[in-house]
Structure formats: structure tokens, C-alpha cells
């Protein structure tokens, strides 16, 4: 059984001294909940139209101007083979910093800030056999809903997922 240490409760924090406690930002893509570590997040901005790049994977929505820096924006829904996001004014782009690069992730909405102890993070059941889930750091249950913690670096690294495009194209085209 996993529990979540909510932001405002600190009662049992002492008990967890040995475990690593981190904060995550959770967000929705459709009905699913995902989360990224808060320290990687630079900012969250509302959707602005992108300039599309030719010959890019379809989960790559194009680039935006972030105060003079060209930042690519990736569609998480497309990356998860659930079609293409039709962004409106409620959609947000989470700007994350991965080592040297800064990228944007297009999601439906930001949900919450979670404080999670490393003990609470559960393994993805078939991660070993299914390399496609390598980007998942683990799963955590929050108020009886599953939140998948993702590592954006593995999600959108062109070298690690070079053939994603051809793999997901047929499904994505339908959507």
C-alpha cells in the first residue's frame, strides 16, 4: 500500500528520513496522469502556435520562441500513440531542462504538485520485457489513481527513439 505525503502534511515525514523525498508535477493527458520531477521543470506556459519542422517525427510539434531561444515542443499524446492533441487555450506546454537541452512537452493540463517518497514508487510490471516503457521511472498511486512518473530525456531523445515515427505513424494518422 502506498501513501502520499501531501504538501501540507508533515506529520510522518520524520519516519521517512531514510527514504528520498522528491516533488513532482503531475499533469493530464486525456484521463491519464503523468508526473515529472519538479527540479527539471523550468516553467509552464500556455499553448502558443508552433512552427513545424519538416521531416520530423509526428510527435514533434515544431518549435517555439522562448525568450529568444528556439525550443522544440513534443506532443505527449502522440508519443503515447493516442493521436494528436488539438491544442486550445487550456493546453499547456511544460518546459523541462534535460542536461544541455531545453524542450517543451505539450499536455492537456497541469494537475498537482506531489511530494513522493522514493519508497512509494513502484516498478512498471513488464518494463524489462517491453523496452518501450524505458522512459517510465515508476508508478505511484495518488488518491487511488495511478500516476506514471516519466523521464522526459528517454521519452524524446531522438537517438534513443529513432524509429518511433514509423512505429506509431499508422495509429497517429488515424487520430
Amino acid at each position: 500500500m502506498t501513501t502520499i505525503v501531501a504538501n501540507d502534511t508533515s506529520s510522518d515525514e520524520k519516519i521517512r528520513e531514510s527514504a528520498q523525498i522528491r516533488q513532482y508535477i503531475s499533469f493530464n493527458v486525456g484521463k491519464e496522469l503523468y508526473a515529472v520531477e519538479i527540479t527539471t521543470v523550468r516553467e509552464i506556459k500556455g499553448w502558443i502556435p508552433t512552427t513545424s519542422l519538416p521531416n520530423s517525427p509526428n510527435y514533434m510539434r515544431g518549435v517555439i520562441n522562448l525568450r529568444g531561444v528556439i525550443v522544440p515542443v513534443f506532443d505527449l499524446r502522440t508519443r503515447f500513440r493516442r493521436g494528436k492533441t488539438e491544442p486550445g487555450k487550456n493546453h499547456v506546454v511544460i518546459i523541462v531542462k534535460l542536461d544541455e537541452r531545453t524542450i517543451g512537452i505539450l499536455v492537456d493540463a497541469v494537475s498537482d504538485i506531489l511530494t513522493i517518497s522514493s519508497e512509494e514508487i513502484l516498478a512498471v510490471p513488464d518494463q524489462d520485457v517491453n523496452p518501450e516503457y524505458a522512459f517510465m521511472e515508476g508508478l505511484v498511486a495518488v488518491e487511488e489513481k495511478m500516476v506514471a512518473i516519466i523521464k522526459p530525456k528517454l521519452l524524446f531523445d531522438m537517438e534513443l527513439v529513432p524509429d518511433m515515427d514509423t512505429e506509431i505513424e499508422p495509429e497517429a494518422e488515424v487520430a
Partner: protein
């Protein structure tokens, strides 16, 4: 805070790189026989400074080697050894080793003890054969007037000013150097020393008195202090007393001072300070400035776009102000870019030695003529153009020029000429390498290309197309890979390097007359003049320099080829129409050139193409932003920019679009088809990576 010693080291290595450039330049002049006396001195000073600094940081290998070189140079500048061309060759070799040693010291690499031993030996041999000098590993004894050996006796008073310390000089090093000259007696005067509570660590309180008994002359002593001149009070007086009196002199300095004295030098600071015309600025700071100006250009474009909607009658001052602002920003941007500009000399100066080495190892005779060395280009260009340039020069000497006998047979001068030139034209910099060799042997090139499977046997190619084959990966005409050029880089890599700088390369060649490689490079890599065009609602930027003309053709002027390509009549020739909407995958674009516009652009090798666009938007300066910083390189796009409305726009790279199109439409029987995947091409490159003619 970092170790101050480390900071000094950084400065030292910065200086070293400059000194090495000066040193090489000087040696080059000497080799050409242009010795005006000052050159030799400059060469000597460069080595001397490197040695001095290296000593301070304990780079022993470097000091040891520089010392020998310095000694030889000193002999040469004092005319004890005649300056002969073969000696300069030795010095040039020594220069290479010195550069290597500096590099090793900078990288903190261990140096093999015997490294450079050969060159050191060669230098010692010169000195020995000239018979005047004897060089030991560390101690030098120069005997300029062997018939007149006598020890001389000097009193030296030395009082450093704080500037001396500020310039990272160390009295102990000077004292050690003095000690090397002979018997030295040192007396430290601490009488100026204030109470410790009043002491300022930045000020100089010590002064010294030296008594030196030496076989050297006064100039040798002055030389020790050469680099602190002006930063100290230095008085050298010679005691003319006979050698026999030395003992008394040593025991009683006062008595000596009462004796016959001759004031030799008295120099104080201030009088001769040379006003520096340049300052050293960290590149980071300049780049920040460049970025800032880039942002300013974008903001200005935004203002101008907004301003263009205003009525001039209503806001005359505002509209005029925006116009003026644009002009000032353009000036500002040019001035800032000029800070980063450097003469290509720094790259060109490496070439004469290369040619010398090549001609020696290949038994050829060649003369390198350089013009336009002062032409200025962006620092990034000078940094990255070196390797491609060296490679092309290597090719010219190795494959372009014939052997001396062949040249004589062909009725040419025995000595070949390679002309390396740089010049500005039309907002770009051109670098040309021209040789008067045999020219490209198109038969051999074609044969080789067919053998390597790059061209089908029944293809008919124009001369220019054959010339351009040498830029294909995995191409070589060299019968055998010589050790000169067999470094695993082909002309394809050269072209890639130049393209990565936003440049283009082309060849022209006349059989029996020679070949000419022309590179054209952008002046700056940060800003360019662009034409904003619209394709299906998306805006793209075309480099203005490539644009010849924009027109709307009539249906009569458009003709189709069986493969679907369209041709347009332009200035009495047919040019291909390039459907940009297709290349860049844009929807809802105008596909009929007669409804949209055709922008005629010049591609690689002067080939004209017609780009089909919906409309022209405006002409403006654009700031080039990298896509690779956060994403990756996109084929057909050289970068991105931010337009006045804040949106990102892609800058079209005409040369790669040309490549993409010719690949797409390549007839299967002619060029490599698309079915040959990049990986299979790479493997063929790996196997056959060799030099080209």
C-alpha cells in the same frame, strides 16, 4: 574562487598562442630573406618570453627546449651565426616542437624526455659548427670575444615597483637568471618595509643590491631585466677595477662604490610607456554582446512591423524614429560583429610551412603565393576553416601539381605555383586556392566514380558535373593513398565543414592549366540579410545573397520533364522549379508557379533554380538561431530565426535543398538513387575513404 596561479597560467597560455603566431610569422619572413633586424629580435623575444613564463610555472621540458632555441636565436641576432635558409628550416622544426610542448604543458600531458631531441641536436650542431657557442643543457656560456677574456664587475641596484608584480613578474626568477651569468652576491634591502599593520599586500617594499662578477657584458644584464623595463628602478654600474681587486670589492661593497664608477643605465617608469591600442576581452563577454544585439535586431523588427501599420501623417516622428532606430541598430550590429572579426592571416600563416613540408616529402617544387591575408572574417570561421584549407592545399600539392620533370615536359616552369587568396565580395568572403598544375583529369575521375559505383557506366555528365563528383563520399582518384594526404578525410568532409559554416565550395578546372577551388563564406554567423517568403501560411527565410530575381511566370514559360519536374525559361536557359511546399511538407500552399511566385536562386556551383513560393513578405535582417541547441539539425534548413511577430521561422539552406531535390529526382541510371541508404553509403565511405584529385 579559483587558484590565482591557475589564472596566471591561463594568461600565460593565451600569450603563448599569440607569441607562437608571431614567432612563426617572423620565421617565415626570415625564410623569405626579409630580415630587417627587428624581425630577428621579435623572434628572439617570442621564444624568450615563452621560456620565461614556462620557467615561472615549472614547465621544465618547455624551458629546456626553449632555452636552446633562444640561445641559437640570440647568436643569430647578434650576427655571431649567419642566418642561412637551412638554419631557418631547423628553427621552423624547432618551432613545431615548441608549439607541441606548449600544448602539452597546457593539457598537462607528460612529455617524453626525448621529445624534440633531434631538433635540439640540430640546433646545437649549428651552434657548434659555427664555433662560437657551447651549449650545455642548462648553463650557457657565450664567448663573444674569445681573444679578450676577462671578468667584469657590476653593481646593480634593483628596486621593483608594484607594476612589476602586477604584471606577474617574479624577482626571484630575475635573480636566478643573474646568477646564471656569473658569481652573484645578493643583498636585500627591507628598510622601506612599513609596520605590518600598515602594510599593503599590493605594494612593493623590497629593493635589492647585487654584485655580479661575470664574463658577460652589460647588455647581458640588461637583457635579464628586459621584460621589467619601466616597472622598476634599475641602475647598473660597472666597477672598472682590475680583477685582482674583486675580493676586496666583495667584502666591502662601500669601498667599491667609492671607486671609479660608470653609470650605465638608469631607467625609471613612466617615460616610455607604450599606449596599448588593443585590449584583451574574454570571448564570452563578446558573445554576450553579440547575443544582446541579436535580441535588439529582433525587437527592432517587431517595432518596424508594428510601425508599418501606422500612418505617417499621423505619427511622423514615431515612424521616423523607428526608421532611425533600424539604421542605428544595423550600425551597432556591424560594429559588434567587427569585434569578432579576425584577419584570415592567422589561418593562412600555417600554410607556407605545410607547402614546404609537402614539397620536401613529395619531391615537388611549389611556391605558395598568398594575397588578402588581412581580410577579416568571424572568429568561428577562422577557427573552423583551417582543417579544410590544409586539406585542400595538400590536395593541390599532392594531386594537382605535377612533378618537376613533368612540368618541364609540359613547357611549364619547374616550380609550381599555388595561389591562396581571400577577398570580400557581395557581403561574403571568398577564399580561393588556385594551382597551375595538370587540372582535374576528368577521364580518370569518371572512371573512378564508375568503379566506385557512384555513377552508372552509361551516364553522360557535363565537365562541371564530373568535377563535382570529387565531393561525393567515398571517392578517390589517387592511384595510391600517399602518406601525405592519406588521413582519412575526403573532399566530401571538406564540403561538409564548409557547409556547416554556411559556406559553399565550387571547382573550376582546365586540363593542363590547373584547378581552382572557390569557397564562399558568410561574413558573420549571427545575422544575415534574408527575404521572408510565405508558403502555405508558414514563413520561411531565404538568404538574400542567393536570390537572383523574383518573378511570376506565364504558363507558356513552364515545361515539364517526363519525371514530373518542371522547367522554367529564365534568361535564355532552362532552370528547374523546386516545389518548396513539397520539400518542407507544407500544406495548403500554392502549387502552381503561375499563381504564386518563383524566386530564382543560385545554388552550389552557380546552378540556378526556381523556388516556388506563395508570396514575398519582406526583406529584413534576421538573427540566426541554432536548432541544434535544443533539437537537432534539419535537412534543408540552416537554422531558425525569430520574426517581428515573435514566431519562429526556418532559414532555408539552398545548397542542401538542391541536394535533397537532386537526390529525390535523380534518375536511377545516373546518380546514386535514394534506395541507397545513408548507412550503406557510409560503409562504402569507410572502405574507400581516400584523397581526391
Amino acid at each position: 574562487m579559483s587558484d590565482p596561479m591557475e589564472q596566471f597560467k591561463v594568461v600565460f597560455f593565451e600569450e603563448c598562442s599569440e607569441l607562437l603566431v608571431n614567432l612563426e610569422e617572423g620565421l617565415m619572413l626570415l625564410q623569405r630573406g626579409e630580415n630587417d633586424g627587428e624581425t630577428m629580435n621579435a623572434v628572439f623575444r617570442a621564444v624568450h618570453s615563452i621560456k620565461g613564463g614556462a620557467g615561472a610555472f615549472g614547465f621544465d621540458a618547455l624551458v629546456g627546449f626553449a632555452h636552446i632555441q633562444e640561445t641559437l636565436l640570440d647568436e643569430m641576432r647578434s650576427n655571431a651565426i649567419e642566418i642561412k635558409p637551412e638554419y631557418i628550416d631547423v628553427l621552423l622544426q624547432a618551432f613545431d616542437i615548441l608549439s607541441e610542448l606548449v600544448g602539452a604543458a597546457q593539457r598537462e600531458d607528460a612529455v617524453d624526455k626525448n621529445y624534440g631531441a633531434e631538433a635540439a641536436q640540430a640546433m646545437k650542431k649549428i651552434m657548434e659548427t659555427s664555433g662560437t657557442v657551447e651549449v650545455k643543457t642548462e648553463q650557457v656560456s657565450v664567448d663573444e670575444e674569445p681573444q679578450n677574456i676577462k671578468t667584469r664587475h657590476f653593481n646593480i641596484s634593483f628596486k621593483p615597483f608594484e607594476e612589476l608584480y602586477q604584471r606577474a613578474n617574479e624577482p626571484i626568477l630575475l635573480i636566478r637568471e643573474l646568477n646564471d651569468l656569473g658569481e652573484l652576491d645578493v643583498e636585500l634591502n627591507t628598510s622601506d618595509m612599513p609596520d605590518i599593520t600598515e602594510m599593503d599586500a599590493e605594494l612593493a617594499y623590497f629593493s635589492w643590491k647585487f654584485v655580479l662578477i661575470t664574463e658577460f657584458g652589460e647588455d647581458a644584464i640588461e637583457e635579464v631585466f628586459e621584460f621589467v623595463e619601466g616597472d622598476c628602478e634599475l641602475i647598473i654600474t660597472e666597477e672598472i677595477a682590475a680583477t685582482t681587486e674583486i675580493t676586496t670589492a666583495e667584502t666591502d661593497p662601500d669601498a667599491v662604490r667609492q671607486g671609479a664608477q660608470k653609470t650605465a643605465v638608469a631607467k625609471t617608469s613612466g617615460g616610455e610607456t607604450v599606449v596599448s591600442q588593443s585590449i584583451r576581452v574574454e570571448l564570452d563577454k563578446v558573445d554576450r554582446l553579440v547575443n544582446m544585439v541579436g535580441e535588439l535586431v529582433i525587437t527592432q523588427a517587431m517595432l518596424r512591423e508594428q510601425g508599418s501599420q501606422l500612418l505617417v501623417e499621423q505619427y511622423p516622428n514615431l515612424v521616423q524614429g523607428i526608421e532611425e532606430l533600424s539604421r542605428h541598430i544595423r550600425d551597432l550590429q556591424e560594429s559588434v560583429m567587427a569585434i569578432r572579426a579576425q584577419p584570415v592571416k592567422s589561418v593562412f600563416s600555417r600554410m607556407p610551412r605545410l607547402v614546404r613540408e609537402l614539397t620536401a616529402s613529395l619531391d615537388k617544387k611549389a611556391r605558395l603565393v598568398m594575397t588578402g591575408e588581412e581580410t577579416e572574417v568571424d572568429k568561428t570561421v577562422t577557427e573552423r576553416i583551417g582543417d579544410p584549407l590544409m586539406h585542400m592545399i595538400r590536395n593541390s600539392v599532392d594531386h594537382g601539381l605535377e612533378s618537376p620533370t613533368d612540368r618541364l615536359d609540359a613547357g611549364k616552369e619547374e616550380e609550381g605555383t599555388i595561389h591562396l587568396s581571400a577577398f570580400h565580395r557581395g557581403g561574403r568572403i571568398f577564399i580561393e586556392i588556385e594551382d597551375d598544375g595538370a587540372g582535374i583529369n576528368r577521364e580518370v575521375v569518371l572512371k573512378k566514380a564508375i568503379e566506385n559505383g557512384l555513377v552508372s557506366p552509361d551516364a553522360t555528365l557535363s565537365d562541371e558535373e564530373i568535377n563535382n563528383l570529387i565531393f561525393l563520399p567515398g571517392f578517390s582518384t589517387a592511384e595510391s593513398v600517399t602518406n601525405v594526404s592519406g588521413r582519412g578525410v575526403g573532399m566530401d568532409v571538406v564540403r561538409k565543414n564548409i557547409q556547416s559554416l554556411g559556406g559553399r565550395i565550387s571547382i573550376s578546372s582546365k586540363s593542363g592549366k590547373g584547378s581552382k577551388f572557390t569557397m564562399s563564406l558568410p561574413l558573420t554567423l549571427a545575422v544575415m540579410d534574408g527575404m521572408v517568403v510565405e508558403i502555405g501560411g508558414e514563413k520561411f527565410v531565404l538568404p538574400l545573397v542567393n536570390i537572383i530575381q523574383t518573378l511570376r511566370p506565364t504558363p507558356k514559360e513552364i515545361n515539364s520533364l517526363p519525371d514530373g519536374r518542371n522547367l522554367m525559361m529564365f534568361r535564355d536557359e532552362y532552370i528547374f522549379l523546386v516545389p518548396l511546399y513539397d520539400v518542407f511538407d507544407v500544406e495548403d500552399a500554392i502549387t502552381n508557379p503561375c499563381e504564386g511566385l518563383v524566386v530564382v536562386v543560385e545554388g552550389d556551383g552557380g546552378m540556378l533554380m526556381g523556388f516556388i513560393v506563395d508570396d514575398l513578405v519582406n526583406q529584413q535582417q534576421v538573427v540566426i538561431k541554432s536548432l541544434e541547441t535544443n533539437y537537432e539539425l534539419i535537412e534543408g534548413v540552416s537554422g531558425a530565426t525569430i520574426l517581428g511577430n515573435g514566431r519562429v521561422s526556418l532559414i532555408i539552406d539552398i545548397a542542401t535543398v538542391q541536394e535533397m531535390v537532386s537526390r529525390q529526382y535523380a534518375e536511377p541510371q545516373k546518380y546514386v538513387t535514394e534506395t541507397e541508404t545513408p548507412s550503406s553509403r557510409n560503409s562504402s565511405l569507410a572502405q574507400t575513404s581516400m584523397e581526391v584529385h
